[in-house]
């Protein structure tokens, strides 16, 4: 830690440090970009992953908190706090030229806080309509429905974009631009489309059948969860996580619980820890089975879809027995889990463990080995390793590019240090590699379940928690490996009953950010399969 401090001070003498959960660096906006460049490019620091970008309104100033990770130095995490100098017209230098993941993340911050990012190439709103008045996550936002009435007419396709460019003297000018070139033939896919896996919209410029550009238009089901959280107590915000990526409901909720438990200094009973891990792995199996089915169906192989769903039903039945629901299980609570396991749980899980290996063989027989499927998936949607890291594509999609990024290994949590499993890596960088990672991860999850199913310790299922939960002043960031990648929860507390700010760092938002990169030069038919192989879930993007 001290090495990092010294190194950073030598680059940027004005930086100050705060001790917290992670090393926190406070830096002024004018020094931020050179520091970021050095932190990324310096061999000794090498912070090559921008894990999270959190917009903040500290009342006296707007700002951004960045979480940076270094893949080479033991996955060290540091936190950088940058304040915008001017509250009237907040501006911060963009780091999107260093970490491409910021292209989308900074647009989100702009959308909700109105912080303009200097030198960002495409400073449009991300989720809200272009005619929306105000920036909702600001503390002084006026939510009066008269300001933003329910629109009675269609939103116009906005082709205008802008970029705030700084010249050598430090003067910032707004440079208008266009999303599509004048002669582009733009095909609209979504928001209501059979295979966008939700309410997602892509505008694709095509040349014949070949896609030349994809513009992501999202926000059709955005619910403003982060804003809602600011007015609710900690136990009340838990249920939102099940409604983000509903295919990683357990992992997401565990992440939020762990973040709160970490802040409270609460110890979770051993039994609850093991139950959580088992539920996570069951969730992962069900999610990957859905991904398998959807990939097959988007390629037109409807039968394989039903095969995947057949086994998924079995997993959902296990959830139903213990949690009382098949979706939105609401199972994890602060300090443990809400209910004890159903008496059939062990028997059902063992049955699942017994059938899965054969069934996976069947999937490979009916779909993976099919020559048409291979031709459709191999060498399609190429995402080289550098891009995967730069765009922070974690989870099975990142591991399909050969990036070892499994949070269960890099930041071990819960019961994972106790179990043996392999981090699945494929080096194809294409849709097929991503697909194969998922199939092999099902096998690994089964292995984890096998190790845990006979070792569920006896004891209480949740710790004693106070009636009213208050977190101490500070900021916490917790990550877990959700089904689709690293899911992060950021909580900033001012000591009250409600969080000052909650941010959910969703893996799918990053996944949809590489659609343009992956689809360029491929055909329209591939747009769908690339989307299926990246496997994003829309409610996780539109939080």
């Amino acid at each position: 830690m001290n090495d990092i401090k010294e190194k950073i001070l030598s680059i940027c003498p004005s930086a100050t440090f705060e001790e917290g959960e992670y090393l926190q660096i406070n830096v002024a906006d004018k020094d931020w970009f050179p520091l970021a460049k050095a932190m990324k490019e310096d061999r000794e620091l090498n912070f090559d992953v921008l894990t999270a970008v959190v917009g903040m309104d500290w009342k006296e100033a707007y700002g951004v908190v960045y979480y940076l990770t270094s893949t080479t130095h033991d996955w060290d995490v540091v936190c950088v706090k940058v304040e915008a100098p001017d509250r009237k017209d907040p501006m911060i230098h963009s780091v999107s030229s260093l970490w491409k993941v910021a292209l989308f993340q900074e647009r989100e911050v702009y959308d909700f806080f109105g912080i303009k990012f200097i030198n960002h190439p495409d400073m449009r709103r991300m989720f809200l309509r272009n005619d929306w008045k105000g920036f909702p996550l600001r503390k002084d936002y006026d939510a009066d429905p008269k300001l933003n009435p329910i629109p009675k007419d269609d939103e116009k396709n906005e082709d205008d974009t802008r970029s705030y460019v700084e010249d050598e003297k430090g003067k910032v000018t707004c440079v208008p631009g266009k999303v599509f070139a004048p002669g582009d033939y733009v095909v609209n896919v979504g928001p209501q489309h059979p295979s966008t896996h939700g309410v997602m919209r892509f505008r694709c410029a095509v040349d014949g059948e070949i896609v030349t550009k994809v513009d992501v238009v999202s926000g059709y089901i955005h619910r403003g969860i982060e804003k809602l959280c600011e007015e609710l107590g900690y136990p009340q915000i838990l249920h939102f996580t099940d409604r983000m990526d509903y295919m990683s409901a357990h992992q997401n909720r565990e992440c939020l619980c762990m973040c709160i438990e970490k802040a409270m200094g609460l110890e979770v009973p051993e039994r609850a820890v093991v139950i959580r891990a088992m539920m996570d792995e069951l969730m992962r199996i069900s999610s990957h089975l859905l991904a398998f089915g959807c990939t097959a169906m988007d390629l037109g192989a409807t039968t394989a879809f039903f095969y995947g769903f057949r086994e998924r039903e079995q997993v959902l039945d296990i959830f139903e027995k213990t949690c009382g629901a098949r979706m939105s299980m609401n199972y994890n609570v602060i300090g443990g889990v809400i209910a004890d396991l159903h008496p059939d749980f062990v028997k059902d899980v063992k049955e699942l463990i017994r059938i899965m290996p054969e069934r996976i063989k069947e999937y490979h027989k009916v779909f993976s080995g099919n020559i048409i499927a291979m031709n459709r998936l191999k060498k399609v949607g190429m995402l080289p390793l550098e891009d995967a890291v730069n765009y922070c594509i974690t989870g099975p999609s990142g591991r399909g590019s050969g990036w070892s990024c499994d949070c269960r290994k890099k930041h071990p949590y819960g019961a994972y240090p106790q179990v043996k499993f392999e981090e699945v890596l494929e080096y194809g960088c294409d849709s097929y590699a991503r697909y194969m990672v998922r199939m092999r991860e099902i096998e690994e999850s089964v292995k984890i379940l096998e190790q845990l199913v006979d070792r569920i310790p006896e004891g209480p299922i949740r710790a004693q928690v106070p009636k009213i939960i208050k977190l101490p002043v500070g900021r916490w960031y917790q990550q877990v490996e959700a089904s689709r990648g690293t899911f992060g929860v950021y909580i900033e507390s001012d000591g009250g009953k409600t969080p000052y700010r909650v941010h959910f760092q969703s893996p799918c938002f990053n996944l949809v950010g590489v659609m343009d990169l992956c689809c360029r030069g491929n055909m329209i038919a591939d747009l769908i399969t690339i989307g299926a192989a990246l496997d994003f879930v829309i409610p996780d993007i539109d939080r």
Partner: protein
């Protein structure tokens, strides 16, 4: 084999007996028209249920079960629903062409059905270029698809129509060449004569290697020709919503739907006539008792059973295989299938010239 022309001639003589000849022909035309349309509808209804039940079976489901016993009446309910639906007309479409397109498609498929003989003498006209005529009519369908895609004024339909045009025109070559190989073998294009040639054994067995290759090429090309999976990319619902018929509603949509199912029957019927002996029963040389029993099964039953079997195979791979991509599909046709069918034609000619067949 029972000759159905005895029945048809008797009907003809009966009508001629008390009607002037023009009126008799008129009445015959009406009867035939009614029969063809009735057969068309019944077959379409059967095929819809057939495919739904089969795909349910492949997918560990039950399929339609609620309307009637085992869901047998489901298709009637669907058909009724489609008939009473509103025909929506859209802004910015070419009204005339938009409405014309489904009729072109349905006409081409009805004409093809009318040309298929179902049994010995059970046909409308016994052309001397029968198979050639069927191929010619089948190409008219693509015109309807192109019109539908163009007139809808929608980007999805246009892409679907372009794909369909490219696909159907390409695969017609292989389809034609595969059939020509058989024509070379049999030395006739008259369908009755073609089937009569298969009295001793079906062409699939008589022509051995080149005939088997031609049969496989035919099945692949026919699947592509009818826009069915894995070649269903003109209407790839995952990319293009419903391809060229996205904008149609009610019975206009129903026409596309019916034509698709009937085309499946027609290509299966052609395969059955050209390769599997049409209405000829299945015979095993030497098993006289068995052959005798087989002879009792009437010709139309044989024809339909063979056609349904080939449809089963086509439906089977539709529900198993993923969809190919447009470039892969065209590359497959022009780089592999067409050269192969040309080679096969040469091989067949050599076989016939040297007498290397049964």
């Amino acid at each position: 084999m029972f000759d159905f022309s005895i029945v048809t001639n008797w009907v003809n003589d009966l009508l001629m007996g008390f009607l002037p000849s023009w009126a008799a022909v008129l009445v015959e035309c009406v009867i035939i028209g009614v029969c063809v349309l009735l057969a068309y509808t019944v077959l379409a209804l059967f095929y819809i249920l057939y495919e739904r039940k089969l795909c349910a079976w492949f997918q560990c489901r039950l399929g339609p079960m609620r309307v009637g016993p085992w869901g047998l009446l489901q298709v009637f309910a669907d058909m009724f629903k489609i008939l009473i639906k509103e025909l929506i007309s859209l802004k910015g479409t070419d009204r005339f062409l938009f409405k014309l397109a489904p009729y072109i498609i349905i006409t081409s498929s009805v004409v093809m059905l009318a040309c298929l003989p179902w049994g010995n003498g059970l046909q409308i006209i016994d052309y001397n270029i029968g198979i050639f005529f069927i191929l010619a009519v089948s190409s008219v369908g693509v015109l309807g698809i192109l019109l539908a895609g163009w007139a809808s004024n929608n980007k999805y339909t246009l892409i679907g129509a372009m794909r369909s045009g490219a696909q159907m025109i390409s695969y017609e070559i292989s389809l034609g060449l595969a059939l020509i190989s058989i024509v070379v073998f049999a030395g006739t294009m008259n369908i009755t004569d073609l089937v009569a040639e298969q009295q001793s054994a079906w062409f699939l067995f008589r022509g051995h290697i080149p005939a088997i290759i031609a049969f496989l090429i035919y099945i692949v090309a026919a699947t592509a020709e009818t826009n069915r999976g894995p070649f269903d990319l003109p209407e790839a619902e995952h990319e293009l919503v419903a391809g060229y018929h996205t904008e149609y509603s009610g019975i206009h949509f129903g026409f596309f739907y019916l034509a698709e199912y009937l085309n499946l029957f027609i290509v299966s019927g052609i395969a059955s006539l050209m390769f599997l002996g049409g209405w000829m029963p299945f015979h095993v040389p030497g098993w006289d008792g068995f052959n005798e029993i087989m002879n009792y099964i009437p010709g139309p039953v044989w024809f339909l059973a063979k056609a349904f079997f080939i449809s089963f195979v086509i439906i089977w791979f539709k529900w198993t295989f993923p969809r190919v991509r447009i470039d892969q599909m065209l590359a497959f046709e022009w780089k592999y299938l067409m050269p192969l069918s040309l080679l096969n034609l040469v091989l067949m000619a050599v076989c016939v010239a040297l007498g290397w067949h049964f």
